[in-house]
């Protein structure tokens, strides 16, 4: 009874918060200060909330089988990841799966809840199939709740459960694919060239099970057992016509010969300082080499030792000559590479990660980002069943690489660090901004170049588990904007269009579950799906949000994002965002040009008027008006550089590119006019 009144109170709080948020539009480009996320009152369903540029549309507590009302934050009922299909949200839970119908986002309806314990219940859907990850020891093949107390048991499920959800209200268990380390997460991979199958990359970071439980499982190093379950991932092939025949078809050893040294990701300032030092060293006869794309000065010990070796190699003695120095200069890079990345040692397990935590695939560009142990990997997945590593980064500020997100153009990749596994409070005032954060890299071919870290800017209490976690892009045309869950740090929406200067543009946060101790809760995942940000709240249920226009994001940009429609969404299988020809998309670009002063105000205003006039026309009239606008913009483009203030050459180039994008959108509209 007491808990029911808590729920009622919570509903009132949610409603009043919604009412407040809609009453005014804040166009300011300054975040509220002091940050209202600091000092929020603790509580389970009645914790205080802070929201900026985002509105909580609804919050729905877990269904009866998925909540223990006498134990706030009961670990048994942790809500985990989300997947979407049509109007349905599939919410994983350590005790099973809940399916919500979000046709009415103000009031999601429970469509089906089925109990099937076994963490983490990472979920994916593809057509009529539902895939669920299991890794814990208590997961059973029959979905029973009694656990598995034997150390070796054929009742135990660690791997992927596959269900037929042709009738979503009655999921039918088809088969299980058992794996040696279970499945912590998994990634459904669609192949552009193989319509008959869907593939699953299995990531399992838990310890290897006994060979008596699953034949062939071995935790021995690969050199003593070539079939070791370490240092590999699993690829499952699911024939769509016969999903019951799903099986592991490959266990690629994507970590072989991984020798990338863990280094601190250099900031642009570091790179500039290193370049200056290198130039000075070269000018005074010093030696340099390139490490991770940055030219560094080789130290005197290194140089002296190598010069002596060169002298000895030619059978000489005494001080090195100018010719010896020239030999070193020519070969410095090769010698340096060999000393930094030596061949693997013959004995002992090879260094490197033994598994991935999560892999995000982007089939449209043939790439995947693997978050694997201490590394961020770039994989070529054009041959889906045979992913190949083509790049790797390591960062001494990163502990445990957790997940990856590409920007839509495939020119950037963002990795997260889940140091502490999500149970720990890593957003305290004392926690460094470069720890437990996102690391943003630019991507050119197979080369990833570090640009910056992004960390939730609001400090959290020691009673709130907080670390970078799951998110997706928000389809704002022309910008890289992402929503991300930070557990009890709440949800942060940030702009990483400029990879060196990511910036928060919206947030939502609740106070801690408990003001006296850490009780796990918060946003496991925050994903954009057809106009809304849907968040899986570990202890509090399902939250649905709507973005609010602000100085950082216009209504046109939000409306343009809402034009992108997904039939289904698995966040780790990134779909390319494509916007239909639309006036609102063109207006979104105009708003971006206004925000960046990329086009003179009178030209912007003329373009807005021309666009509005064209919208009222149809057929040939509209086409002509739009063609005329495109011509005008082309001439504005040539004039644009003079409008830019001296010394802002880079800004000018960016805006040129935006005007060209706008011209493209206007031309598309003209082509679409009938």
């Amino acid at each position: 009874m007491k808990s029911q009144s808590l729920f009622a109170l919570f509903a009132i709080v949610a409603l009043s918060a919604a009412a407040c948020a809609t009453s005014k539009v804040n166009m300011s480009m300054t975040a509220p200060s002091p940050d209202p996320r600091v000092g929020l009152r603790a509580g389970w369903m009645n914790a205080a909330q802070a929201a900026w540029n985002i509105r909580l549309v609804s919050t729905t507590p877990p269904s009866p089988d998925f909540i223990n009302r006498s134990t706030p934050g009961d670990f048994q009922f942790i809500n985990s990841d989300l997947s979407f299909s049509g109007p349905y949200v599939f919410q994983g839970n350590f005790s099973g799966v809940q399916v919500w119908d979000m046709s009415n986002p103000r009031s999601p309806r429970l469509h089906k809840a089925f109990v099937c314990p076994g963490s983490q219940s990472d979920v994916s859907v593809y057509r009529n199939l539902l895939f669920v990850s299991g890794e814990a020891l208590n997961g059973r093949t029959d979905c029973g709740t009694q656990g598995v107390t034997d150390t070796v048991s054929h009742d135990r499920l660690r791997g992927i459960r596959i269900f037929d959800i042709t009738d979503v209200a009655n999921p039918r268990h088809i088969t299980d694919v058992q794996t040696c380390r279970g499945s912590h997460t998994h990634t459904v991979v669609t192949s552009p060239t193989d319509a008959d199958n869907v593939y699953i990359y299995v990531s399992g970071s838990a310890p290897v099970r006994s060979p008596n439980e699953l034949a062939g499982c071995s935790a021995a190093p690969p050199d003593s057992n070539p079939n070791s379950a370490l240092f590999r991932i699993e690829v499952i092939q699911v024939p769509l016509a016969h999903p019951e025949q799903a099986r592991i078809v490959n266990s690629p050893r994507i970590f072989n010969d991984l020798t990338q040294a863990p280094s601190h990701g250099e900031t642009p300032e570091d790179v500039a300082a290193a370049a200056k030092a290198a130039a000075e060293a070269r000018a005074t006869g010093g030696f340099t080499a390139t490490r991770n794309g940055v030219e560094i000065v080789l130290g005197p010990r290194f140089v002296t030792f190598r010069l002596d070796s060169i002298v000895k190699a030619r059978g000489g003695t005494g001080a090195p000559t100018a010719a010896d120095s020239a030999v070193l200069r020519t070969n410095a890079q090769v010698i340096f590479d060999r000393s930094v990345n030596p061949p693997l040692r013959g004995n002992g397990p090879p260094p490197g990660p033994t598994q991935c935590h999560d892999i995000t695939v982007y089939p449209a560009i043939g790439l995947a980002g693997g978050a694997c142990g201490g590394y961020g990997l770039l994989l070529d997945i054009r041959d889906v069943a045979n992913p190949k590593r083509i790049g790797a980064v390591a960062d001494s500020n990163f502990s445990f690489w957790h997940s990856a997100t590409f920007n839509n153009d495939g020119t950037k990749v963002l990795f997260t660090d889940e140091w502490g596994g999500g149970l720990q409070p890593r957003c305290r005032v004392t926690d460094k901004p470069e720890w437990d954060a996102d690391a943003i890299f630019t991507l050119a071919g197979a080369t990833m170049t570090f640009k910056s870290y992004y960390k939730l800017p609001a400090p959290q209490t020691p009673n709130e588990n907080c670390v970078a976690h799951n998110g997706t892009l928000i389809p704002i045309p022309g910008r890289d904007i992402m929503a991300q869950g930070w557990y009890q740090g709440g949800i942060s929406v940030f702009d990483w269009t400029d990879p060196a200067h990511p910036r928060e543009i919206a947030y939502f946060d609740r106070g801690p579950m408990d003001s006296t101790k850490l009780v796990g809760a918060g946003s496991w995942s925050a994903y954009w799906y057809n106009g809304y940000i849907v968040s899986s709240e570990i202890a509090r249920g399902l939250d649905i949000f709507e973005l609010q226009p602000s100085g950082f994001l216009s209504q046109n940009e939000i409306d343009a994002a809402k034009l992108v429609h997904f039939d289904y969404l698995n966040a780790q299988d990134q779909q390319q965002l494509v916007w239909p020809a639309s006036f609102v998309v063109a207006r979104a670009y105009l708003d971006q040009l206004a925000r960046s002063n990329g086009l003179a105000p009178e030209k912007l205003s003329a373009a807005r008027s021309a666009l509005a006039r064209a919208e009222k026309l149809s057929g040939q009239g509209r086409r002509d008006a739009l063609t005329q606008l495109a011509t005008q913009l082309n001439s504005d483009l040539r004039g644009a550089p003079q409008l830019v203030v001296d010394g802002q050459e880079q800004g000018r180039a960016a805006d040129q590119s935006k005007v060209r994008t706008l011209i493209g959108a206007v031309t598309d509209l003209a082509d679409a006019a009938r």
Binding site: F75, Q76, S399
Partner: protein
């Protein structure tokens, strides 16, 4: 010098005994009727043992600034202190919530009621090794620290393996999660420290 090794063996034997008995602890028995999955003496031993185990890592890491550790080792140590302090807090919280004895964070080892001396958990440094590390400075401190911390972390992985080999253990969600996190984080950190040690040995050539 020999005594601590004997203690280690005793620990192993003790754990092995737990494996076969799979007994529920008294507090667990009291709770068995509730909806929560039961936990075993092996779970309690694992969680409680991790407190002393981690406390020693914190003491070791705390020496880096005063013992002339390199910048890279100091950064590593800073992270170890944060990570292991948080895990100790988790362990203490879990024990408290389950009405089990909460041992102090004693860097000498696992303190059990009724025992005179703290028990060394797997991988923990002997008093001699601790003295050796405490006496080292600069590059030698880095080398010894990395060597000993790899040993120390491998001990935590051994503890996870022992836990998972115990019947009925790690059925409780938080324990499995905690154990899996310790396993994954420390494996990753061993990899990192192995490379740092390789770098150190190579640059000493």
């Amino acid at each position: 010098m020999k005594t601590p090794f004997l203690v280690v063996i005793a620990t192993a034997a003790c754990t092995a005994a737990t494996v076969h008995q799979a007994t529920l602890s008294p507090a667990a028995q009291a709770k068995a009727a509730s909806s929560h999955p039961p936990y075993t003496a092996a779970d309690v031993h694992f969680v409680a043992g991790m407190i002393g185990h981690h406390a020693q890592a914190i003491q070791m890491a705390g020496w880096a600034p005063s013992h002339g550790g390199s910048a890279a080792v100091r950064t590593l140590c800073e992270r170890i202190v944060v990570a292991q302090n948080d895990e100790i807090a988790f362990a203490q919280r879990w024990l408290r919530e389950h009405n089990e004895f909460v041992p102090p964070a004693d860097p000498r080892g696992h303190v059990m009621p009724g025992m005179d001396h703290p028990m060394l958990m797997p991988g923990m440094l002997t008093p001699d090794q601790m003295a050796q590390l405490d006496a080292a400075r600069g590059r030698e401190f880095d080398r010894l620290f990395l060597t000993f911390m790899i040993q120390h972390h491998q001990g935590a992985i051994t503890m996870v393996a022992q836990l998972l080999a115990a019947p009925g253990a790690a059925q409780d969600g938080p324990i499995f999660r905690f154990a899996a996190d310790v396993n994954a984080d420390q494996t990753t950190e061993i990899d990192r420290m192995t490379r740092m040690l390789d770098d150190l040995n190579r640059s000493a050539q």
